[in-house]
């Protein structure tokens, strides 16, 4: 295979109570990536999205992943990558993970299906390291595995794919900046044992609900007593959107990754579209621009469009 075209989905890390361990792929937004095998050991990156991301391989999220693969495998080949991002950088919807995971999966396909999924996660984490300074897999794993994944450990890579519940997801990206580093710094390093117990009860309930496709249990487990109360302060209109969405029939939801995007689960498409309206008008009324996405949980992750 000489060329591959990929649709690389947005992902929602944490899933409310699963801070640093859970992640989920959704259908929209999604990046387009086109990758070509080169006869020479060089990397050419081109962005057609106008976000002004660096194209120098060592400074590009997809680039560092490919550099690491070339180095480890002592490749004589190189790669050309054309990226059209639809997942805005800084949205909290896994934009950097999409580039990293897409690069790893693309290389895997172009080199003849040579990696396990764990290996792709391993290489893609070098992209996350460049983007955020941390080798974390909570967005990369659902991008590669699809559905909802549990990152039991990132070194060594131990990913547990969970079921993909048959649910709608509404996500809103308000155009405000929340730096991942700020979102991390405001967290307390110490927490109360009693809060932790409540949190792990919710996580256990969420995992059981996901595995049994029990929507009511998923709903009443989407409760975060540790991270959300602190981080939601950084997100304008968070409480308003959450309250109105639940009143409109959302099962639950919260901050996507470290924000500023917010997501909500619904059982019905109609509910998810009502919630999209609630989100949009909340930000319109305060003069904050926003992008809203309605799609389903993505059970398969990155999709090969053409090869």
């Amino acid at each position: 295979m000489k060329k591959v075209t990929l649709k690389v989905p947005a992902t929602i890390a944490n899933l409310v109570c699963g801070f640093d361990i859970l992640g989920m792929a959704i259908n929209e937004p999604a990046d387009d990536m086109e990758m070509r095998l080169l006869e020479t050991p060089e990397i050419i990156i081109r962005h057609t999205d106008g976000f002004g991301l660096p194209e120098e391989p060592a400074e590009n999220v997809a680039g560092v992943v490919l550099l690491k693969i070339m180095e480890r495998l002592k490749l004589k080949h190189g790669f050309e990558v054309i990226i059209h991002k639809n997942i805005k950088p800084g949205s909290g919807l896994g934009s950097s993970a999409a580039s990293a995971a897409g690069a790893a999966l693309g290389a895997h396909l172009l080199l003849g299906n040579i990696f396990t999924r764990e290996e792709m996660v391993y290489y893609a984490m070098f992209g996350e390291e460049l983007a955020s300074g941390a080798r974390h897999a909570d967005n990369i794993a659902p991008c590669i595995y699809g559905g909802i994944t549990l990152v039991k450990s990132s070194e060594p890579v131990d990913i547990i794919p969970l079921n993909a519940p048959d649910l709608w997801v509404t996500a809103v990206h308000p155009q405000v900046e929340v730096k991942t580093s700020d979102a991390r710094e405001i967290l307390r390093k110490n927490i109360l044992l009693k809060d932790a117990i409540q949190q792990w009860g919710n996580i256990a309930g969420l995992v059981a609900g996901i595995q049994n496709n029990d929507h009511a249990l998923i709903g009443r487990s989407l409760n975060d007593v540790i991270i959300e109360p602190v981080r939601s302060i950084l997100i304008p209109k968070f409480d308003h959107i959450k309250r109105e969405s639940l009143e409109a029939g959302a099962l639950g939801g919260g901050i996507s990754g470290s924000g500023p995007s917010v997501f909500m689960f619904s059982e019905e498409e109609e509910t998810s579209r009502t919630i999209a309206g609630i989100m949009k008008s909340a930000y319109d009324s305060t003069g904050i621009e926003s992008l809203v996405y309605v799609s389903k949980v993505n059970p398969s992750g990155i999709r090969i469009v053409k090869d």
Copy 2:
């Protein structure tokens, strides 16, 4: 129905990383309870086990459960209960929960199947309150539901029954006293967020492993970085038993409830019997008497022997 005879199983709370939320029923040891409906609104409790437990209804774990049922339902009937405990009080194997759950289920049967399982848990918690001062359901729930249960909330009662993995369990009860109150007091009220994250990754892995009957995943999720390092100090030979059991092929294990009992999971009966030998000789060598039980996970909880 005028009379019912029950086999009420021991239970293992916490299951290593599921502190205060998970519990599991095992087949051995198990109490024998015989309950009879009386025409008069009185409660007669008789213990035939020689443990010297109080037989005054208001001071007896089964008694307070029945008193509460009589009061709430304004019953004109009463109950006679003959209890032969095989689960030693103070073992950490759910001895008080067995009496409480047996009383609630027995009353349910004698009164014509009038309660939901949640209601039985609700009433049985009054027995736990008498025994330990806390209305907790982590031992009661698996006694009533069987298998492994998640207590998502005890007020209101919200129990999620999980699968019963096809595993062997070896449990040892060293004859030393660990007071539940002491075991609770030595816990730190504050914990590190990074430890909590590791813990909830393990809990999520354990629940996924239980739901998928994935023994390897269960094994590598049975890891407690918060409670066990503190509480295991109270249990002689804990580290030795754990290390030797894992070397002998145990999937994992830890403290049962707040101790002093220790349990280990195995895939094969032979392994579980080898581990029984390891446990026995560890305590024999230090002059501590011990009782060892080998049985399987109990998928159905309390069993009706005769009615």
